[in-house]
Amino acid sequence: MDGNDEQNCIDRVLRGEVNAFGTLVERYQKPIFNLMYRMAGSSDKAADLTQETFIRAYQKLERFHPGKKFFPWLYSIGLNLARDFARKKTWNPEAGSTLNPESFSGCNSPGDQHDRMCESLEFLRLEKALNELPLIYREALILRYHDECSMRDIAAALNLSVSAAKMRVHRGLDMLREQYIRRNP
């Protein structure tokens, strides 16, 4: 689905076809849900926040500029909600799984990071390290390296200039590396 198809969907929604919005929901619910899960730490709450994000986007759809991309705009709505949520409640990343990746010493050196065998466990450690980062840095990394967004899109999603977005990605990566190494001495 390219930008034109998305614009067509939005046009149909604005003509009264609610179900056309379903296409956008199906397409983007996963990254938004994952954003909210990183924020809330629970599927239940993440689902609620995801729903709220899409509802807000729907309510504001007339104000969405036709020339822009939908996903960064949607993401920025989600981030605002996530920030509001964070202000009301703190998610303690340490309260996560007692799986305790620190106890797995089988994959603790940089050389082993390339070992696919340990990758599943590495993801859990990565998740914990990511959750230590401030929201904007974390999301900058996810958007850049996981969702493969351009810097322009990241800037739009984070409501920053392109140069500020670049700085967040660069600094975020450094911070993540420090966290990751700290957790896996």
Partner: protein
């Protein structure tokens, strides 16, 4: 903060060597590259099944003034190509074509037409009467037994809980999760399946064919 001074990083370096900047930088680059790859491959959590439907069912159709739609149409970037020698007639044809497209767009579908993926699912309404419940969620084989996004809503006399979903054709097991902890089968369904944990799940058959739409 200087990474070179950070003791947590030191052990990654060859402790026996006198490090120069080149060696440090190369190791750092490899670390960062590995991290980027890991972020890229990080598995996503799936959004709960039925979440999209839950979102859509809470939305009302929009009524946007015509002038807003025209304004948005005008803002929308488009690519136009032409040959200078044929500029005038081509421009006229283009303008006429755009005007027709706006009014009688061939891609314009009937209101209420659905995304094909949504259309393949069949609407099902679940109902539970349970006095004094604070919350009720639906769990089943269609949502990996995860109540997230499947909270039922109270209607009528507030003892009745309802949830509308779209499910694929086939057989589904399900139960109601009351107050986040009590698993309750659907008394209105005659069929059950023991879950092996001491509970009974209810069984539902969903079919597109009307004679079997039962």
């Amino acid at each position: 903060m200087s990474r070179k001074k950070d003791p947590s990083v030191q052990h990654l370096r060859d402790s026996s060597a006198k490090l120069d900047n080149t060696v440090c930088e190369k190791d750092e680059n490899q670390d960062l590259l590995a991290l980027k790859r890991l972020i890229y491959r990080m598995p996503d959590r799936e959004a709960p099944a039925g979440l999209a439907q839950s979102i859509l069912s809470s939305l009302e159709p929009k009524t946007v003034p015509g002038w807003v739609r025209i304004y948005r149409w005008a803002l929308r970037p488009r690519t136009v190509t032409f040959q200078p020698l044929k500029l005038v007639p081509a421009a006229m044809v283009l303008l006429l074509g755009l005007a027709i497209a706006f009014q009688f767009a061939p891609w314009r579908k009937d209101p209420g037409s659905m995304d094909p993926r949504q259309a393949s699912l069949i609407p099902v309404t679940f109902t539970l009467s349970y006095p004094k419940a604070e919350s009720v969620s639906l769990i089943g084989s269609f949502n990996q037994w995860n109540p997230a996004g499947h909270r039922m809503r109270q209607i009528g006399d507030l003892n009745t809980w309802v949830l509308e979903l779209r499910l694929p054709e086939g057989r589904h097991e399900y139960a109601f999760l009351v107050d986040g902890k009590m698993v309750v089968p659907d008394q209105s369904s005659p069929f059950y399946q023991s879950d092996g944990f001491g509970n009974r799940n209810s069984v539902l058959f969903v079919s597109r064919d009307e004679p079997a739409n039962i």
